[in-house]
């Protein structure tokens, strides 16, 4: 299998799906002529032309609404947000139109749309451009929310998202576009939505991590292994629908859980996962579920403070040692 970056894996997924299905088209700010602010759409304008790869004005609410209308009319739009920070402007279309249309039309209009782009913390772009808002979208019934952490998952999940008949929020991590990994080159390689992946098996503690926190959790697991603590790292990959079964099965084996995320702690996805573990695996818990989240504060611009606001290896190791009563 070739080793490629997440950026290249996403590009392959887009290319393969544009080629496979003529109803698929791509639009967003700078996606065509400039080939994407993060070069995810490189070469696509040249290959598929300006009817299927479309540059939009800086009007997130407008082109998100255009996308929902196109989906109602039978197309399969892929809408790129330059970052998910700007999707905040489009939330009325995403939440009030895309998420609810199937329900409110009595099943007459499905909305097979993908809203994708980078999210989470970047490097020194300060509070408004460095935030993880997956819990907003995961909150709403009608939306699916996907967050890949490896090139293979990024490709397989994006292809599944484009083929899915429901609106999908697909959040790539801004810091991770250059991460490399092996990716199958089979054009029908898919990763199903709603299925978690055990990134590393272990027996003493379960670390549930997504997106940016997956590689950090795996490094923490390496370090903890040397201290005699065996960690199982689970990446839900899809936030909604959440594969709680895989998590619960793991907790039944390990009896202790750390949930890690870079987003704010209050009302976050960690809170949801913790609550479900308590509901479904209470009798198997040997310690309270421990959350590791980003700071409960706007992202600082200063480098030293930014480093403190994003969870790191030390914080995950400390949390694991706490729930395993190791200190």
């Amino acid at each position: 299998m070739p080793t490629i970056t997440i950026r290249e894996a996403l590009n392959q997924a887009l290319r393969e799906e544009l080629a496979r299905d003529e109803s698929v088209f791509l639009m967003g700010e700078e996606v065509a002529a400039y080939q994407g602010a993060y070069k995810v759409t490189k070469g696509l304008l040249e290959e598929f032309g300006d009817k299927r790869v479309i540059d939009t004005p800086i009007t997130e609410l407008g082109f998100a609404g255009l996308g929902v209308g196109a989906a109602m009319a039978g197309l399969r739009p892929i809408v790129e947000f330059m970052t998910f920070n700007f999707s905040i402007l489009a939330t009325d279309q995403i939440i009030n139109s895309a998420a609810k249309m199937l329900y409110m039309s009595g099943g007459q209009f499905k909305i097979p749309i993908v809203f994708r782009g980078p999210g989470g913390s970047a490097f020194q772009v300060s509070s408004q451009h460095s935030q993880a808002i997956e819990s907003w979208y995961a909150y709403f019934p009608g939306l699916k929310v996907v967050m890949p952490s490896t090139p293979a998952d990024a490709k397989g999940l994006l292809k599944s998202a484009i083929r899915d008949d429901d609106p999908v929020i697909f959040i790539e991590q801004e810091r991770m576009y250059g991460n490399k990994g092996e990716v199958p080159d089979d054009p029908d390689y898919l990763v199903p939505l709603g299925v978690a992946d055990v990134k590393r098996p272990g027996k003493d503690v379960t670390i549930v991590a997504r997106s940016l926190m997956v590689p950090v959790a795996l490094k923490a697991a390496d370090q903890l292994e040397k201290q005699g603590v065996s960690c199982e790292v689970i990446d839900p990959r899809t936030i909604r629908p959440l594969d709680i079964d895989t998590i619960v099965e793991s907790v039944k084996k390990t009896n202790r859980v750390v949930v890690a995320e870079e987003s704010h702690p209050f009302c976050g996805v960690n809170a949801e996962i913790s609550a479900q573990i308590m509901e479904y695996a209470f009798d198997y818990l040997d310690a309270p579920v421990k959350r590791v989240s980003g700071a409960d504060a706007p992202m600082p611009y200063a480098k030293n403070l930014e480093n403190l606001a994003v969870p790191n290896l030390e914080k995950i190791v400390a949390a694991v040692r706490e729930v395993t009563y190791s200190d």
Binding site: Y284, D286, Y325
Partner: protein, 426 residues
């Protein structure tokens, strides 16, 4: 900050308490650990201590009124602090039970609002003693293994019992179990320390299958504790004579026949450890010492103060303790640890002229001895009819722990020693 004073749990079986007397009045300063009130529980009148320092701002449950465990009964705080929030909380709680409900017209009842407040006391109930911290997993594992969480020491934060504590307890309890496959060793038993201070150490032996089956079958026949009864008649002349002689040495000793019975029973129990035991569902607990419960009639019931390690105490010690405990039992001043955790009980109705009777076992003890009156009777000795002081005793046994022959052998020893009390000094 103002803090709530809740009705505390002062006896193992207490569900509500009645304020006998407030020892402080509103406006008095109180310091932590100082007695705040006297509370009548189901067993005794107990002192309640202040858990915080401050001024007793408000008494919510007055003398003579009752409140369930965990209900707010008073507020302690700073002299000028605003306590309205706590007061309004108290108003929504159920009104304290008045002592004279019969005379109160029914029309005043609706203020109790049981619908809205039914669950409050249970919700609040911060019981100061006896709370076991345990992880959900450890609690389940302990239940499956039949382990008593109170006997375990938690290694987690704040003493929380966690998985590894249960695992080590299981591996400990299994080690002796394999030893038990061999014929019973006579010495080198190790005993665990009990939760109640001064109570006898004990060792738990997992019950065998046959014992489990016996237990199950007998319970279906006769209720949770399957009693059977063994009666024997004991010649008491020598015991009575010994008592006379001892009291002649020092009239202050005031040793009673019952004190001698307690001592003999305790010594006999040590020779028959199978009777000095209790059936505990998955194992049988054998005690190192004989802690003898002595039934004492009190005004509105009975209570069994415990003579700890009676096997090791002299007759004069036993006599003094029985007298002192019985006096305090009658004035309802016993502490819970003084009337719980016996390994065997004795009930004596001889002073009421009862010839013989059967007593009901006080669970989880394995047996109780019912002692009748001593009276002169014609008996045959060496083919001659002679008059002797005879006394009939009946032992009720928990058949799950004690079999007929086991109980009979104990009674045989008991009788032999009581008929020849010199055995006590041999």
């Amino acid at each position: 900050m103002a803090s709530k004073v809740m009705m505390p749990k002062l006896s193992p079986t207490m569900e509500e308490g009645q304020i006998a007397r407030w020892l402080k009045k509103e406006g008095d300063t109180v310091s932590m650990g100082e007695p705040l009130a006297e509370i009548d529980t189901d067993k005794a009148t107990m002192e309640m201590q202040a858990l915080t320092t401050g001024v007793l701002r408000k008494i919510l449950v007055h003398e003579g009124e009752s409140a369930p465990l965990g209900q707010l009964i008073a507020i302690v705080g700073e002299p000028n602090e605003d306590i309205n929030a706590l007061l309004s909380e108290a108003e929504t709680a159920p009104a304290p039970a008045k002592p004279q409900p019969a005379e109160e017209p029914a029309a005043t009842q609706p203020q109790q609002q049981p619908e809205a407040n039914g669950n409050r006391p249970a919700e609040a109930a911060p019981v100061p003693t006896g709370r076991v911290l345990v992880s959900p997993l450890a609690a389940r594992m302990a239940a499956e293994a039949g382990l008593d969480l109170r006997s375990l020491q938690g290694s987690g934060p704040g003493g929380r019992i966690v998985k590894k504590d249960i695992e080590s307890a299981i591996s400990k309890s299994q080690a002796p179990a394999t030893v038990q496959a061999f014929p019973r060793a006579v010495e080198a038993k190790t005993f665990q320390q009990p939760a109640v201070a001064a109570a006898s150490p004990y060792r738990d032996e997992l019950i065998t299958e046959i014992r489990r089956t016996i237990a199950k079958r007998l319970v279906t026949s006769i209720g949770p504790v399957p009693h059977f009864f063994l009666t024997t008649e004991i010649e008491m002349d020598r015991a009575a004579e010994m008592r006379r002689n001892i009291n002649a040495l020092d009239p202050d000793l005031k040793i009673s026949v019952n004190d001698i019975i307690i001592k003999v029973a305790a010594v006999a129990l040590l020779q028959h450890p199978a009777v000095n035991a209790s059936f505990q569902d998955k194992f049988i607990r054998y005690y190192e010492h004989a802690d003898i419960g002595v039934a004492v009639a009190i005004e509105d019931g009975l209570i069994t103060p415990v003579i700890r390690s009676a096997d090791q105490k002299s007759l004069s010690q036993i006599a003094n303790e029985v007298r002192e405990l019985a006096d305090r039992a009658r004035s309802r001043k016993l502490k819970p640890e003084e009337y719980t955790g016996a390994s065997f009980s004795i009930s004596n109705l001889g002073m009421f002229g009862i010839d013989e009777f059967t007593a009901v076992i006080n669970p989880p003890e394995a047996a109780i001895l019912a002692v009748g009156a001593m009276s002169p009777k014609p008996v045959v000795r060496d083919n001659q009819v002679v008059v002797r002081q005879m006394m009939r005793v009946t032992m009720s046994c928990d058949h799950r722990a004690v079999d007929g022959a086991t109980g009979a052998k104990f009674l045989q020893t008991f009788k032999k020693m009581l008929e020849n009390p010199l055995y006590l000094v041999v």
